[in-house]
């Protein structure tokens, strides 16, 4: 465990973009970390070093560069296994991101395991990438997609899960470990243990959780787990799908092509060992290596410290935002049940207008449906504004956000 005396203020110097100004010479205040995070020099340098010194295709050639590239690439797999507490490195599959991970499951597992009248259960606060693949699958198979509803506090109503499980028709329950809109942390262990009673598989969307708190897959005990590198200091274009080996062994290949085969003949083909069976074609080698550097960075910080820092910021922000007249915060205010994602609406001002006005002050927040239209419908809003924090954010930046909201109030005469 790391010391909690880590200076989060000091690590800002690792992030070159934080020195930038935007618009009329305003200091950048980047508060859209749930969408994607900024990258430290350590990650950028790892990518650069790969291209300047080791670039080669992996796994297949005997020459020096290829050997080095393969070692660097495979080292990230071990770092990830360690980071999320996975014992078998061959359960870790590299993909583009959470979206591809979930779609891979829908194709390579779903297409053979889901039949007519089967039920897949998701939740009302999922990202589109954990809804649309299941709509496509269930519609194709004549199966059903059902939703665990959310209460007014932003927490799941688990009675719904019980009801669906009792039908005996559920084949998969899928949910995010942290909502990308409300920040709610799902009680995953409870859901998984309920599902296990019925022998139902579980998929966890860890896109928002893995970057922001310690995650232990062994303890979660789910069957599928997905997350994205770019939301945790890593490069764009790389993510992870973890699948329990016994389940992975029941899955068909997804993409056909190089690297995933054992022997190709004209009319029949045999498959490579795990995980390569699911990694067809030249992978995103440089970004896998860059992702390794991101994991090193977070490991050095300690995920407990990351979580603690965000709790501090989130508490501070909720307190300040709550003082603004006419401002509504969605979801629970109990910090033990939420991460550093705060969605809000400001009187009758549309979130786009909020975002645009505060952008003039250098503040980057997201406005819109956040790829969660089902949740917007549930909240009965068209959109929200969302501020989300990461390791480099400070209380001063939250003060800037609050100040900029005063400008919104002025312009809209609130």
């Amino acid at each position: 465990m790391q010391s909690t005396q880590i200076s989060f203020e000091k690590l800002r110097k690792d992030f070159p973009i934080l020195q930038r100004t935007v618009r009329d010479n305003k200091t950048l205040v980047y508060l859209d970390n749930a969408s994607t995070t900024q990258k430290p020099n350590q990650v950028i340098d790892a990518i650069t070093d790969y291209y300047k010194n080791h670039n080669a295709n992996i796994h297949r050639a005997v020459y020096a560069l290829a050997e080095e590239a393969t070692e660097l690439y495979e080292a990230t797999r071990d770092k990830i296994a360690n980071f999320i507490h996975v014992k078998n490195r061959e359960e870790i599959i590299f993909v583009r991101g959470t979206t591809e991970a979930i779609n891979l499951v829908a194709y390579a597992w779903g297409r053979t395991h889901i039949q007519k009248d089967d039920i897949i259960v998701t939740t009302e606060y999922e990202h589109h990438s954990n809804i649309v693949p299941w709509q496509l699958l269930t519609q194709e198979k004549g199966a059903k997609l059902e939703y665990i509803r959310m209460d007014d506090n932003g927490e799941l109503i688990l009675d719904d899960l019980d009801k669906y499980l009792a039908t005996g028709k559920v084949k998969l329950v899928t949910f995010s470990l942290m909502s990308n809109v409300l920040g709610t942390i799902t009680d995953a262990e409870k859901i998984v243990s309920k599902c296990k009673e019925y022998g139902v598989l579980t998929l966890i969307d860890g896109a928002q959780a893995v970057p922001h708190m310690p995650v232990n897959i062994e303890k979660l005990d789910c069957d599928f787990f997905a997350f994205s590198g770019h939301k945790m200091l890593g490069p764009t274009g790389i993510g992870v799908l973890w699948v329990r080996k016994s389940v992975l062994q029941t899955m068909n290949p997804f993409h056909g092509g190089g690297d995933m085969i054992r022997e190709v003949h004209k009319y029949e083909t045999t498959w490579n060992d795990l995980p390569y069976k699911f990694e067809a074609g030249t992978p995103n080698i440089a970004d896998v290596i860059g992702f390794g550097a991101a994991i090193d960075y977070l490991t050095n910080l300690g995920m407990d410290n990351v979580r603690e820092h965000e709790i501090e910021l989130t508490n501070y922000a909720i307190e300040k935002l709550s003082q603004i007249n006419g401002l509504t915060i969605y979801g629970t205010k109990d910090i033990s049940k939420r991460g550093g994602v705060i969605s809000f609406n400001f009187a009758d001002v549309h979130p786009h207008d909020v975002a645009q006005i505060i952008d003039e002050e250098g503040i980057a927040v997201r406005s819109g449906h956040h790829c969660a239209q089902v949740l917007m419908e549930r909240l009965n809003v068209a959109a929200t504004s969302r501020a989300s924090f990461y390791i480099y954010n400070t209380k001063e930046e939250i003060d800037s956000l609050i100040n900029s909201l005063n400008k919104v109030a002025r312009i809209f005469k609130l």
Binding site: V349, H350, H352, D353, I357, G368, H369, Q373, A382, K413
Partner: protein
């Protein structure tokens, strides 16, 4: 270039709080719905068309101040005009009315969603009443080149 926040002048704020021609028409001659996939804004337009003229037009939906103001202005411009005139309404007509000529790319879509819906509505109306397939092709091309 002027600051982006300057676009939030009195007129826009007023229109956004009190949109003009907001609502639905009973038994419209044509109705159309579309939305902006990226931000979730969504607009419906209903029209009454009498003697090749837009005798009534109303819109409803969800959107930001820019979207609401532009929809209001657009319906004001449209009301009472002949079909051919409506066909010729340009984005400039809408944007200039509100001083939004220099809107950034991502907001242009908010400003012009209602124009897109209006044109689609018009094309679907015209398509139904056209006999000449060449005209229909021309219409399709026009629709494809909207922005």
């Amino acid at each position: 270039m002027s600051s982006n926040a300057d676009i939030y002048h009195e007129m826009i704020i007023d229109y956004s709080r009190n949109p003009v021609n907001y609502g639905k028409i009973e038994n419209p001659d044509v109705t159309f719905h579309d939305s902006n996939p990226l931000c979730g804004d969504s607009i419906d337009i209903d029209m009454k068309i009498v003697d090749d003229k837009v005798s009534d037009i109303k819109f409803h939906g969800k959107g930001c101040a820019i979207c609401m103001a532009c929809s209001s202005v657009l319906t004001e411009i449209t009301k009472g005009k002949g079909i051919e005139e409506v066909r010729n309404i340009t984005k400039h007509d809408v944007l200039s009315e509100l001083g939004l000529e220099h809107l950034q790319a991502v907001r242009i879509k908010c400003a012009l969603l209602s124009l897109k819906v209006l044109k689609s509505a018009l094309y679907s109306y015209l398509g139904k009443h056209m006999t000449d397939s060449q005209d229909v092709d021309k219409l399709k091309e026009e629709a494809a080149n909207l922005y």
